[in-house]
Symmetry: C2
Subunit: 198 residues, 2 copies
């Protein structure tokens, strides 16, 4: 009942995360009926981005240049390196404006059960970078999930014998959070990580 | 902090209905990191669809052919014409399998306040079709919203003097619905439209 090309379009839109059959149908009708220009631009930019965006040679984040804007910025603190698990995590830290050093972006986290080992996520490239750069502190900002914690421990083990300060971002009660609704694991972290009141 | 091309891609994805900044970011990262092939296919199919899909010459629904699969099917009942407001409505009726006649798809509904009059939604083309074809019954399946009802009344007025049976799809309690949770307007329709118990 739908024309073959329209069916193809709805099917193609379903590759997008979080888009099921009904949303894909709505998107297809919207682009064809109401926003042909926006759709054309999406098609062109998407082809361009998939063709040209690759990894930053230094920090492995997504960029169309050889070096990303952060790695090529001489005003960033070259002595601190923050390890993150995804471009979204890197972006969240940048948007907070609280960090001025460099990054290294892993491709996810260790997950031996899925066949994802140290080389798959780029830990060897991280080690090379640490050896090559005058890094004084490595901040492990992996997600506080089982895989993230395992990855952080793995990296910490590799770096343990070098004279580099190793830190982990603090876990505790989020700002604006209410103790009543915070889970036990987070409360435990918050108590263990308590600091002198200033 | 994001590369310009990546920012363009995130911006371009936001033309999709229901996609905000966070979803667009997630989609961009997903396509670039995990599903480059799916992204390329989406870009190609989207360009192809926007280039080639237009209106069916007879019923105005979306198709890449001159006549859609329904209008070109000789086994459909040529004497009944169902008027719908969008391709999604047409698809929903087709999927129910309850209708074997032809369709005419309006481009939305009358909305004088937005400058959308009879010609903008294709009512003149509907009148031409009714005059040209041996139509015996026109079923008004416009949405039961203020605009949909107004559009149905407008079409009914235009067709009133012709010897064509005019019907409106029934409004009432949806199957599986509970009276307790049904709004007053629907209940009123359900009582006014009550039928002889068989």
């Amino acid at each position: 009942m739908l024309s073959p090309l329209l069916q193809n379009l709805i099917q193609a839109l379903r590759v997008l995360p979080g888009v099921g059959p009904k949303s894909a149908q709505r998107m297809a009708f919207y682009l064809l009926q109401r926003n042909v220009d926006g759709g054309k631009q999406l098609s062109e930019v998407l082809a361009d981005a998939l063709e040209n965006i690759g990894q930053c040679q230094q920090c492995h984040t997504l960029t169309e240049a050889d070096l990303c804007g952060i790695c090529s910025n001489p005003r960033r603190d070259q002595s601190v390196l923050c390890v993150v698990g995804s471009p979204a995590d890197l972006l969240a830290i940048e948007q907070s404006g609280s960090y001025q050093g460099l990054y290294f972006q892993l491709t996810g986290h260790l997950s031996p059960i899925d066949g994802i080992g140290p080389e798959e996520i780029g830990i060897d490239a991280l080690m090379e970078l640490v050896a090559r750069k005058p890094v004084e502190e490595v901040i492990l900002a992996n997600n506080p999930t089982v895989e993230g914690e395992a990855t952080a421990y793995y990296i910490a083990n590799l770096l343990a014998e070098q004279s580099i300060k190793l830190t982990r971002i603090a876990h505790g009660i989020p700002m604006g959070g209410e103790l009543e609704y915070v889970d036990g694991g987070t409360l435990t972290h918050a108590f263990n990580g308590r600091q002198q009141f200033k």
